[in-house]
Structure formats: structure tokens, C-alpha cells
Subunit: 611 residues, 3 copies
């Protein structure tokens, strides 16, 4: 699925033909359109006009270009917001978020839902199987819009709680409301803890994170149901990079395949961080995925929007392919001169001429045939709810769950192996190594899988210390004390301490357990001599957070280092019954890499299949 | 009064017996309970149920454990807030502070006051002399809750102003409202300066700080009055560390003894800063005080909540004793698994087992018999209103009054002497040295005491430059020009300048006076040659802010250095008619300290009585 | 016009005589009074009492002191705000800005306008030609008060838009509302984009900046019209340093001469930055201007308010003179003991004694006879709307238009030449060199002037890339591609890159063009080899932002360096038909400067006329 995102509504129809011709010249076979067109197709309440979209779809189809059509619910029009101001979301400070950009709606607003599902039905009934793939809305949760704290949200939250807890007694018990005199006598007394003098109830907070995620998922689901009435085409949604506000694992159940928007969101660009996101997206359904938006070069939303030379787009395309993508679609084909994204690069330039980026992309496309299925040797346990638990009332507010996991992912990759993420319900058989990092809450089901796993298991500090209501457990790691031969008897936050592991020096960060070691061997220690890492049989426990280097050292006992060099990404695949290693040079210069002892000289950004 | 804070309501009654047994084993003789129980004992409006509290008190009493009972007014229940939302406080931004944590009330809310005094009366009438000590509310002002800017606060503020000024003409004159056209024609025109385009009226601001402090004091007083109707037991309130929003000196008048909560609130832990707080608390009534909450190890409210090894709790207990405490109660006995403080350490662990902390505390208790009365050689003038004056519209917004005073306190301690704080109404006879630092406003009464004081007096920049309405005085230092032989003729903020004092190099910070020297000798200069310090007879003037080292140097002329070493705290006491020096090693390692020329080898955290 | 700002209303009448005597002793010939007196002269609605102002004016006039009278509209009284709370402005967060400081009004409030124009009419009709100059209001826009987002502002904004665009179709097209579905069907749907989830519409934003500036200008204009009914005296307004919220060029049309308030607003004091402001003020009407407020020494509104030795005031006075000022008036004559500015220095001290500052000022006055007309060799294009364009949705949010222009100004000055600012409507003939820096939008009129200009022209990155609706142009630099022989084909933000210019090393900052060079010569390159600077005939293009050193190097081809040394400011003037160079030593020490090869030894802060 190679193509690009396209906005016919931004142009006078006279430009369209030129655009489509260039698409054909450069091999753009797919376009995504329509996801911000609400005010174009519904000019005022009930006044529908699909002529523009009809014509665009017709022109594209005539020219053999396949279409992903986005439902336009991310941008309720001015006439709608003006009529029903209660549609607007309310932020963490209790302030209404205004009209004038995008995503200005709460998915719990009844008025909004009515109009949103009506326009979706208009789209679905008109274009049913005419188009090829449906995209629901656009980037749920972007700009913090997972969260809304208005009246309708509160009503919906109370309903959600009633369904979950049944009785107030039950809720009071699980929320521990006896603490600080917070006991509720009526459902109507429950409010969002906005601008509270001090720390919120951590059990309530976890339910708020769950409820907010569920609100978007419910909205996606209701759109899918409308579309299903009219269309047999696959449905997807564009997920985001480094994004943890929504439980994507849960949301992925309701789409036919996962798509995501591959942008560089960190201050420093790190190719393996993008790879971790690719793998997370692949792991959501353990199936190929689509990069439905690919950063082309500079964007417009950073403090400093640096450009990237055109060959980067080629490399990013190959990297997606390497990680199991079934296609890459740069955002966007046409370059816009106006609007909030006027500085965002496109594949054409402001004058409509093809850029070097378009050429590079077009060439990369020809080097990425079919879809690769990467073979991951390592399973890393991941859970969105754990990310929320780490946000709430924790011991070290500097710790970031996803960042710490990306460090582990990078360690595995640099050793020459591939990693995939596994969730509570996933099977873990077939992987060589299982890592369960910083997993505050682990379901009983998965605890059993850990015990049964035959290969080495790595467990860390902060794992299995919480129940599903966000209470700390009586003993830690809960249900795994015997398995690992240690008990956590005390703990505290740390900034950075030196430690020793296999006689090497490592950094321990963020957290420090005090262990009682029953039946394990100590293989690492903090500088003050207390245990940093232990092993019992092939069960490893790390009493802190390690950085990438620490993890490389720790894992190397079971993942023998295969690669020497830097600036590479490597994946093992099966192809025609043969195991192959595929390697990508992520550097813009020639790169010498030793794989399994043999030298490979890689050209700038080269993708190479190795023996 | 050795014991701990305890929360029976957080446990099924089946746990209580185990808790009480452990208390007895480890010598917990006192507990504080009940201060967050409002929704437990008043389940809904007027529906009282004291069974839990009754049983807990009975069980504790039966086992010989003495009880401090806290009134539960810090946490108005959900049913009350839901019924009277106007109870909620309003912050500096004009935003309501929500339900969902604690201290969510304004002490000026009529509805709140009615319900709060009703529940206090329920407590008082039921437990009158059954319990041993009363604690009023919990940590007045914590989380910025001294301040509330709602409608009822405004009404109360106008009443407070009417009482203070009598007429609007009087208020307009003292507030200088002619500046920027702020003259009031009606009391109802007076508002809180919320979100003003620029700087507020500094005279109004000082009255706001006073009014807000008075609001909490008035509320404390009205609770005490209710309790007095039913009980002859002493009343206290738990004051806070490094806390300047409330005039604790004024508040202390209404309690029988001062208690405070000894937590480490600064980024870096500094034992002598905690000592300064102990001394401030002792100085409020110049009587022994209670550490009613003692940080046990890690807390939960810092960015990074570091743990402390168990022996720290022993040392902190000894340090309190050294500074004149009559008891130390770690917060908290039981370790909670839920609630906003689930990560806060206790004396038990999550599984209910005694920790090493509990053992260390128990042992320290046996090393701290009776109550010491420290003998301070030095008096440091202190005034809460001056702290507020420094907050308002000053010349150098980086200057912090209390931090600068702690530096002086530490200098005195490190020289081997003890300091106490004196307030406007206090006598200063009996001290060897009097320091009057950064005291913008000094009462006429105290100005006279300065003049009469026979020993050396140290006065600094920013002292006696304001009247009690926060006007600058015509000449500076007001009423002390002749006494010190200098006049401040100009001044300005500085960042950090080098200076010279007794031919040594010192840092001058924050503020720089330009002096006219009449009849004093210059003993220090700024780098540009203007006078930094002068002396006339034994009257010293410092034209800037010195750090700890500068003060050590300056004071050493009158306080001959007695000690060599580091990591010690030293106090002189009288015991059985003999002068003794007591020294505490605040380091976790063996420590060599020379006192009056003799070597003392102190074990880690050792408390030692020296000849 | 030498004098000072004076506040008789802050003093009991008994002090006035002393003040006036001191004025006469020290040569204070002008005073500005009255601009914060609203509540003094209108004590409640319609209750006027001009006795104080009458008496003050009479006393000053009797003593031969000339008067600038300020209209008091910057401080609506409490009684007025209390009666019409809708007068209060609303900030960017949608929050009302409260009473209690100053500038608490929206110029779009109908109630406010009615009362403001009434008090102005009272002033004007009473003092018509009795006083000598009128100042309108005080520092329009100070403290961010250019911006108000209340209901009345919104109504006025919609009217402003109707007038500008005529039809909604027109507005929708120019605002590009098809982007993100923002199309408006009714004028009433248009709102201010307050607290939007993400980036606002950049075309709407530019109109908001224009509207807000116009609102203040319209208010100024309506005051001028009232005054003109009663007075023939000149009207001015006090503009501010480094201030870009208002289009001062547009506002300057409605005053008879420009005044400004010369304060140091940057973290580090830089005399040439103040000079740039002087020149900008002179350039607004290309006429002499008045420094109506001059920082005397310390102020009160900085984080750290450092003092300045008295001779600085003398130097600042000479610097204003050097740049074409017709007078300098320190703020303020009398030193206040109360109010929000109690720490701001005056020319008297708190006790009413003359300070060394007053002496220094008085002496400097005698060294600055008449009014100099500086002869600028260099024209720098400047435009307030471009400053707003740079604020909105740009590529590098760290770039600051005015700061980057000050760097160019300083480069010109340090080479030994003088610069003036030119605006779209200004003529450029007569200047030797024309610099057009960072000028996103350039009017067609000015584009023609660039082409016709015979001398060297310097154009930079980000110039002529926008149309007047803030759309990017199709090609860049728009209409100047042939003239400069290059086209910008791509660009991106940068932090800091090394570059080469005339074989020297330079820093390139913020922005990096990718150029296609048609018919120009490359004279500078980025480190990666792409062109940094080009020249075609005498048309220079710089593909990035240079710092002061880079500009000195680049300009030196056409502005041969005349001066060696540091800490000087130099201006060429014509005097009695002779060209003279005037040089000011801005350092408090003796300074050796070589001008045109000859050594000049300048005394501290000396102003010297050179051959």
C-alpha cells in the first residue's frame, strides 16, 4: 500500500489533474482523503453537498488510484459548535477548549455523537464499497484530547463506574475512600478531581484513565458499526508515535488492521526508537500494519522544525518495510500554502513541482517488494494500563515507562536480535527470551505464563507490586517470590547510582529495591553492596532500572552479541523457507558492520539481505 | 511523648489487635488518631456513627496507650461539599479548588464553619477527657490552603478591613490608593487583586497575607473554644517545616503546646536546617514542643522519593530531643497499601511486619530520657509579617527571608553556639548576642530593646526600612541611624558580588546598600570600595546579605569558634546544676570533632554528653 | 524639553513648594503630570474635583515650568469598574484581568469608552491651551494589555472583519478555512481561538494582531479628536522599549511627535540596543522625538533590580541627544514611599533630598544643546506586521524578529555608520545601503523600491515569502527571484550551524534555505556546502540568519570599517554646513577609540564632537 495523503479540497479543481498525473508518474497507488472535510460536505445543519468528494473519488478511481476514506469527525464545523457549545471538551484545568483548530469535541457529548454518526452514515452509505479502506476519525487523542472533564463526561463516567462497580460500597472499598474521608454516599457526589489542593485518589485516577480511553474506543466502535451496515471494506485508524493515552491494544480489536503515523516526536532523532514504535504497532494484532502517515522531511509543530535531506524519506520507508509494514504513505502529497500546517513539507513543493523527496520515496518503493514477516526472538511484556499506573502517585515522578522500555528494545536490537511486545492475553511460547519490565500490575493469567515459560525470564523492580485497582500488594513481587527466589522488603526512589553487574560497572536509575534473597544467586550489586540483580535458575530479577548499556550486559548471557558496529537495524526473516538476516544502514554515510563475525560494507541508508 | 500516628479506620478491625501488640513490644506509648475520620463518623448530614472510633479508643486505652485525638475538619466529606459547593476554596488564579484530595475548604465559608464546629462539638462532647491531648484540624495552610479568594472570603476580608481601619479614608491613606487611581469610595469596591495586569498594591497585599493567616487562626480558636467546653486536656496543632504562610507565633497563643511535622522539605537534606525549624518551634512559646509527625524514611510527595536507611530515624529522634522536644512520633505506624499516600513509608511494612525503622526508633527512644532545655547564646529576631513583606514588591525577587535566616542559624551552630528566635514582644535579656537580620519592619517596642541591649547587636540591610503599613521609611535604618552610626542613602539589588571582611573574601548577595558612615568604623567593603560592614561600639551593620561563611566570619569576633569538624550539632544544657555540652553526629559514619580543643570520636549518628 | 515626571497628588500640598524650588535649582524646565489622576479628579460618577490639579498647574506655571498633561484613562477608578465590570479585559486564557493595578480596561468596552472620553473632555475643556503638551493615556499595551478577548472585543472584531472582508466567502477564502473544516456560515460563528487543542489558523491570528493594535489606535485617535476640540497644543503618547504588540508606525500618524519611555528591558544591558530603540522611534516619523520617561537608576519591576551609578543617567541623556532626541525626562522627580513602585528610584530620595543622579542629569543637560539630526547611511526595512507574522506558526519558534534586527543595527553602528528604519511607505533614496531582513511580507510598492534602489541591497531568508493574508507564496523570494538570481526551493529550521563567508567562519542560525542559484555568485556556504550567501551585481542574498559578527563581515564590502575599539556609539551629523562625527563613550572608564585611523581618548561617558 504505497501512496500518500491528499487533500483535493485545498485546491481549485483545475489543479487536480496535474496532481493525479504526477501521482501516476511517481507510483502513488493509494491516497488517503476526506478526513477533515466535514464543513465541505455538510455546509450547514443537514445541508449535504458531496459534489467535491464525488468528483475527487471519481477522478482518482478512473486513474487507478486506490482510496482510503477518512470519516471527518475530528473537525466538527463552526455551525455545529456554535449551535451546541457543550460539544467542546474541557481540559485538566476545568477550562473549555475552544474552536479554531481541530479535535475540539468530547466523545461523550450527546449532541456531538448524534451529528458525528449522522455524517459517518452519510459517508458510509454513499461510498460503501466504492472506496477501498475506511479510516475512522483522525488521531484519536492527539493534543491531549483523550481527556475531557465536562458535565457530559462526568455523567458518562458515573455510568461507567456504576457498570463496573455495581454498588457504591464496592466502589468505596476498591477506591479506598476511607483515606482522607472521601467516602461517597451517592453516585452524584463523584466528581473529577480538578485543581485539588493536593494528590488525587490513585484508584480513582486509574479509572479515569481507563474511562477516557474507553470513551474514544466506544466512539470508534460506534463508527465502525455504522460503516459495517454499508461496506465490506477494511476499517483502520491512524495510531500515533510514543502515544500512551489510549489503550491501543484494546482499540486494535475493533479495526481490521493497524495503521500509524510515523513522526519523530523526540528531541533527538533515534532510528531505533521509531523501530520500537513500528514493533509496538505490529504487536497490537501481531500482524502487518500500515504507515498511513510518514513524516516527509520537516514538520511544523516542533520548536525548531529541522529539515531532512530527501534520502531520509527513502530510509524511513525501508525501515517500515523491515519491521513488517505493508505500506508507507508520506503525509502529504500536495504542499499547502495556507492553514496551520503551511510550513509542513509535502512531496510536491509550494509551486506544485515534484521534490527530490518524491523521487527518493518513489525509488525506495521499488526496493521494498511484498511484506516481510520479522521473526522476533525476544518478547517484552507491555501494558497500557501499566503506563497509566506509572503516571499516578509513584515514587519517582521522573520515571517514564515507555522510555525505559524503549531502552530495553534498543539493547535487544543492538545485540542483533529482534523484539516484539506481548500483552496480558498473548501467548509467549515460541519466543526465546521473556522480559517483564516495570510491570506494576500483571494479570494472574500472565503470571502463570511467566512461571511456565521455559526460556529465561527477566523481571524488574516495580513489577507485580500492584493489584488491578492500583493497590500495592502485601508482598512483592506478588506471586513471583518463590519463582525468583527474592522478596522486595523495602524500596525508594533514586536519581542515579553506580552499580556492578557481572563485574562491570552499570548505572542504576530511578528506583532501588531492598531485596531479601532467599534462593537466588546475586549477580549484581548497588555501590552500597545491596543486591542489584539476582538469578535463580533462569529467572533474573533486577532491583532497579537499567539503561540500554546495562540491559545489553544483563541480556548478553542469553542473547549472545551477534553484531559489531553502529547505525544499523537488523531483523531475521524467513523467506522461501530460508532464514535470512535483513540489515538497514540508518546512517547517511557508508557503514562497516560485522554480523556474526563477517564484515558487511553498507552504502548510505542501504537495505541489504544478508546470507 | 513517644509514639506514632495511627489510622485504625484504614484496617478491618481484625488487624487492630496485632497492631496494638506490636506497639507495646516496640514501646509506642502514644498514638495520634482520628484527624481524617469525618466521613467515617458522620456518614451523611447529621448521621453520626462513632462506633469505630469508640472501639479503637477503647482498645488503645485498655492497652495503656495514650491518645492524641485530631478533629477531622481538614477533610469535609463528599456529601457536605456536594450540598454546599461554596465551601471549596478559590486559588490565586480565581479558580475553585476541587474535591478529591484534602483541605478543600475555606475557613471563611459559613456553611463549612457550621458543620465543622458541629463535628468538633461531637468529638469534644463524646471524648472530652477520655483522650489525652487534642489536635485541632491537620496542618493548617498545607498545599497553599491558607489562601482562598472566593466570595465569602471577600466578604470576610472587607469586615476585617472595616475593623482595622474604621473608615475608608483611613484605609485609602494607609494603602496609598492615590497611586494608580485606586481610591475606594465604598467598601464593596474592594476586591482581591486576582490576575491583575501588573503589580498589586503592596499595602493591600500585606493586609491580605495578614487576613488569610488570621482566618485560619480564628478557625483554630473557635475549635479550641468548643473543646474547652468539654475537656481539660491540652490542645495543640501540627505546624509545618519551613512554613511561612501562617503567623505561627500568633497562632501559638491559642494552643497549650506547639507540635510540628518534621519532614525534609528542601531538595538537599541538611540536618541543621531541620534544627533551625526545631528551634523556631521551640521559640514560638519558648517551651518544649512535640514532633507530632516525624518523617520515617521515604515520603510520597517529592519528585524523587528517596529512602533513608533505618538509622536515620534514630538520629532524627535524637536531634529533636537535642533541640528540646518532649517527644517524637513517626508518621505513621501502620503502612497503607491504598490511598494517595500508599508510597509513604511506615513503621510496619505492607505485610504488617515490623521494619528495621521501627527497631531503630524504639532503640533511640531509650537514649532520649526526659526533656532537655537547650541554652541559646544567640537571639535571632524573627517575624512572620516580615516574611510576607519580603514576598511583596521587593527589590530582589530571588531573596528568601527564611533561607537567609537559616544561613545565620547555621553559622551560629557551626561556631559551637546555640540560637533561638525572638519576636517583637520577646525579651532579649539573657542572650549574649542579638542578631536582627533583614527585618524590614521592627516594632517601636523592639527598637527600644535593640538600643538597650548590652551585648553586641548585628543589624543588616533591609532592616527597619518599612512601617507597619509597608511604606518605606523616610530615612533608613529608621530610628537606628545614630545607634549604628550609618545611614542608608541608596540601595539596589545585586546577584552576587565579592566583598572583603576583616581582610578575608566574602560573598555579598541579593542587596547592596549605599551607606553614609557618620560615626562607625568600616570593617568590610564591597569590591568597588563602598562599605559592606561597619561597627560603632558593639553595633554591627551589614549592608548586604551574607552567606553562612560570611556570617561565621562576621560573628567570630564575638562568638569565638569552639568546634572543628563537620556533620555535628551541638547544644549547651544545664543538667543537675552543671553545664554540659551535648553533641550529635549527624553523619552515618564515624566522625572526629574537636570541641573546645579536645578530640571527640563519635560513632555513626551518636548522641554524646560532653564534660 | 528637559525635565522630569512628577506626581503632585502623591504629596501633601505642603511639599510642593520644596519640589518646585528644587526643580528650578536643577534646571527642570518641563514636567509631565496627571496621567494617573482619574480617581483624584472624578471622585465618583460625575463628581468632578479639579482643585488639586488646578493648584498644581498654577504653581508650576507660576514658576515657569512647562507642563505635559497626561489623560488619566490608563486607570479607571474602582467606582467605575465596580459599576461596569465588563470594562475589565480578558486575557489569552479567557480569564478576566482584575482590578488592583493599572491598565485594567478593554478599549472595546462601550461603557469604558463613554467614561474615558468624558474625563478626557473634562481635561481638555479645562486645560485646553493652559498646558503645553498633551500625552494620551499611558503606555498603551503595557503588561500585555493590547490583547483582550471578552465579549465586546469579539463583537468589535466581527465588525472589523466585516469591514475588511465584506463577505464571509471572501473571509473564508483568505483565511483558508477549508483547512481543518473551519468554514464559517455566519459572522457570529467566528470566535477567538482561546485554549484550542492545537495550532490556530495563522491568517485569523494575523488579523487578530492587527485588530488588537487597531483597537488601541482607534482609542488614541478618539482621544485626540476630543482634545483637538479644545486645544492647539501638540499631542503625543509614550511608546515603549522593545515593544512590538502595537503598530507604532500606524499609531504615530495620529500624534504630533513621538515620545518613548527609555528603560532597559533586557537581561543584560546593551547601550546599542537602547540606541536601536532610539532610532526606531526617530524613524516612526523621521523626526526628532522625546524621551518622556528615562530610567533614572534602579527600577522595581525586574527580578533583580540593580542600581546604576549616577553618571549613567548623564550618559543615557547624552545618548538620547546623540540619536536625535529633543529632550529627556527622567521618571520620576519625586521619590515615592508607597504604592507598587515604592522601590523605583527617583531624582530625589525618600527624604526629599536631591540625589547624585539629579546632579548628574542636571550637568548632562548643559552638554546637550539644541537637537542633533543624525545622518543615517543605512536603511533597514522594518514592519510591525512582520513581527506578528513571525510570532505565528513559524518554522523556528526561537527566532525573534526584533532581536535579529537589533543585531544588524549593532553591526552597522560598530562599523562606524548609522542606520535608520524604513517602512513600506517610506522612500529609500538618499541612503547608501538598503537592508531588507527577515521581511516575510513586503508590499508590492516596496518591492518596486528595492528593484529601483541603486546602492547595494541585502535580502535575507524568510523575506518575501508571504502575501498579506499570511499565505506562503508559490515561489520565493516572491518577485525578487530574477533580481537576486536565486530561488529558495526548500527550507528548514536549524539551531546553529557553522558557515563560511568570504573565507571566514560565521554562525548561521534559526533558518536554512536550500537555494537554486541561477545567475548569482556564491560568496558564502553552509558547512555541508550549500549556498549561504550570494551576490548578483550589488544584490546580496543571505540564506539564513547571521549574528552581529556575521553581519559586520557581510556588510564590510560596502561599509568599510571606520572604527577600532569598543564601548562607543558614533553618529555623523551636519552642523553649520560641516559634516561632523559625534562619538559617545558608553563605558564608565577611559576609552581609546580609533576613528578613521585617528586615536581619540574619551573620558568616562564622554560625548565628543570629532573633526
Amino acid at each position: 500500500m504505497y501512496g500518500a495523503d491528499y487533500y483535493p479540497e485545498h485546491w481549485d479543481r483545475s489543479f487536480w489533474k496535474k496532481h493525479v498525473e504526477l501521482m501516476k508518474v511517481y507510483g502513488i497507488e493509494w491516497v488517503r482523503i476526506g478526513e477533515f472535510m466535514w464543513s465541505v460536505v455538510e455546509r450547514s445543519d443537514g445541508e449535504f453537498d458531496f459534489s467535491l468528494l464525488d468528483e475527487a473519488i471519481e477522478l482518482l478511481s478512473e486513474n487507478g488510484i486506490k482510496i482510503i476514506l477518512g470519516t471527518p469527525t475530528a473537525t466538527p464545523p463552526a455551525w455545529l459548535v456554535s449551535k451546541y457549545p457543550e460539544i467542546l471538551p474541557v481540559d485538566w484545568n476545568g477550562r473549555v477548549r475552544g474552536f479554531g483548530s481541530r479535535r475540539h469535541y468530547s466523545p461523550n457529548s450527546k449532541a456531538y455523537l448524534e451529528y458525528a454518526l449522522r455524517i459517518v452514515e452519510q459517508y458510509a452509505s454513499r461510498y460503501g464499497d466504492v472506496i477501498d479502506v475506511w479510516q475512522i476519525d483522525n488521531e484519536f487523542g492527539c493534543h491531549g484530547t483523550t481527556y475531557s472533564f465536562g458535565n457530559e463526561d462526568l455523567v458518562a463516567f458515573r455510568e461507567w463506574l456504576k457498570e463496573k462497580y455495581g454498588t457504591l460500597e464496592n466502589l468505596n472499598r476498591h477506591w479506598g475512600t476511607v483515606f482522607w474521608s472521601q467516602t461517597y454516599k451517592s453516585w452524584d457526589e463523584i466528581v473529577f478531581p480538578i485543581n485539588t489542593p493536593t494528590f488525587e485518589n490513585p484508584h480513582q485516577m486509574l479509572d479515569i484513565y481507563r474511562f477516557m480511553s474507553d470513551s474514544s474506543i466506544r466512539f470508534l466502535k460506534s463508527q465502525v458499526e455504522v460503516i459495517r451496515k454499508y461496506s465490506s471494506k477494511p476499517v483502520t485508524h491512524n495510531f500515533m508515535v510514543d502515544f500512551m493515552d489510549l489503550d491501543y491494544r484494546k482499540m486494535a480489536r475493533y479495526v481490521d488492521f493497524v495503521s500509524w503515523d510515523n513522526y519523530i516526536a523526540t528531541e533527538e532523532y533515534d532510528p531505533l526508537r521509531q523501530s520500537a514504535n513500528h514493533s509496538l504497532m505490529r504487536s497490537l494484532k501481531h500482524q502487518p500494519f500500515l504507515v498511513i502517515e510518514q513524516q516527509p522531511a520537516r514538520v511544523n509543530w516542533r520548536q525548531v522544525n529541522e529539515n531532512y535531506e530527501s534520502e531520509y524519506l527513502a530510509m524511513w520507508t525501508k525501515q517500515a518495510y523491515l519491521n513488517g509494514a505493508m505500506g508507507v504513505m508520506p503525509f502529504r502529497f500536495d504542499q499547502i500554502r495556507f492553514g496551520a500546517e503551511q510550513y509542513h513539507a509535502g512531496l510536491l513543493d509550494y509551486y506544485g513541482r515534484p521534490t527530490k523527496r518524491l523521487e527518493a520515496y518513489s525509488k525506495a518503493k521499488s526496493q521494498t517488494p511484498g511484506v516481510i514477516t520479522p521473526k522476533p526472538e525476544v518478547a517484552i511484556f507491555f501494558d497500557y494500563e501499566n503506563e497509566w499506573i506509572h503516571r499516578i502517585n509513584h515514587l519517582n515522578r521522573n520515571f517514564k515507562y515507555w522510555d525505559a522500555i524503549v531502552d530495553i528494545y534498543k539493547a535487544v536490537k543492538k545485540l542483533g536480535y529482534n523484539a516484539e511486545f506481548v500483552f496480558n492475553e498473548d501467548e509467549v511460547e515460541g519466543y526465546d527470551v521473556l522480559i517483564v519490565p516495570y510491570a506494576s500490575y500483571i494479570s494472574e493469567e500472565f503470571l502463570e505464563k511467566i512461571k511456565k515459560f521455559e526460556g529465561p525470564v527477566y523481571l524488574t523492580a516495580m513489577s507485580s507490586i500492584k493489584d488491578k485497582y492500583n493497590w500495592l500488594t502485601e508482598r512483592m513481587p506478588w506471586h513471583l517470590i518463590d519463582e525468583f527466589g527474592i522478596e522486595v522488603v523495602d524500596f525508594g526512589g533514586i536519581k542515579k547510582e553506580k552499580g556492578y553487574l557481572f563485574s562491570q560497572c552499570v548505572n542504576s536509575l530511578f528506583w532501588k529495591d531492598e531485596l531479601e534473597v532467599f534462593s537466588a544467586k546475586v549477580i549484581g550489586s548497588f555501590e552500597n553492596g545491596t543486591p542489584l540483580a539476582t538469578v535463580k535458575n533462569n529467572r533474573y530479577y533486577v532491583a532497579s532500572v537499567l539503561d540500554e548499556n546495562g540491559w545489553k550486559l544483563l541480556l548478553s548471557e542469553n542473547l549472545k552479541p551477534r553484531v559489531l558496529g553502529k547505525g544499523y537495524e537488523l531483523v531475521n526473516v524467513e523467506r522461501n523457507g530460508r532464514e535470512l538476516t535483513v540489515v538497514l544502514n540508518t546512517l547517511p554515510i557508508e557503514n562497516n558492520v560485522y554480523i556474526d563475525g563477517s564484515l558487511h560494507v553498507l552504502k548510505p541508508f542501504e537495505l541489504s539481505f544478508v546470507g
